[in-house]
Point group: C2
Chain length 117, copies 2
Amino acid sequence: MEPDIAGKPAAGKAESQLRKGVLEYCVLAILRDGPRYGVELLETLGAVNGMVTSQGTIYPLLSRLRRDGLVETRWQESPSGPPRRYYELTPSGHAALKEFTAIWPHFRDAVDHFITD
Amino acid sequence: MEPDIAGKPAAGKAESQLRKGVLEYCVLAILRDGPRYGVELLETLGAVNGMVTSQGTIYPLLSRLRRDGLVETRWQESPSGPPRRYYELTPSGHAALKEFTAIWPHFRDAVDHFITD
DNA sequence: TCAGGTTCCATGCATTGCACAGTACCTGGT
DNA sequence: ACCAGGTACTGTGCAATGCATGGAACCTGA
């Protein structure tokens, strides 16, 4: 059992709670640029400050996205290692992402409004 | 049983999930300007686009804040109606708010980075 | 053969927004 | 005096989600 890609064991409580409901759409946004597989998504997320997460988060999340019809998957052999499951946006996934990108600015500005006195 | 202040029964699933972990700090931020009571907080939150919530959300949240020592309360008579419980920040509350205001900009920019291609 | 890295999956817990239901206080009309 | 309606607070139960934990399968290289 290997430790997760993220070196830090866990960020603060606030940061963890912030990800709720946002991580899902960040994944959809990444998939907008083309198909990705699990570990690749982890790396892309971890490259951005404050978005580090772990396999225990990403795989259940991807299962939910698949269950809800927001992504489709296909297996592909890896040049080294076990086969990879590539995730790709469905029309529903595109729609969900579009809906979020419409809501997000309002929400972001609302929080800014309260935080900055 | 009266309906909540918010006219709209419920926003989309995304908007609801967005509030998780943020509402708590918005409340702390409002309390930074001075003591407020429950319904007053509901009105202040509802005045900002995307932050509408209900009593079923705010009162359990306030109970948690009190349990965790982030706020203190005192009862005060109302000019018309039942007595009001006023909430006020403790030093721990100020510290938690300060921690969040330090994290939020990074998180906000991270989401923006993914969303805006 | 076997140790280690890579990739995936499933289970269980804590947190949190919210719907729903209930209690208590005050005011004003009859 | 009585009661309807508004104000304000409280508690319970559910669903969604991040995450820790454990594990299985595949490949490479010593």
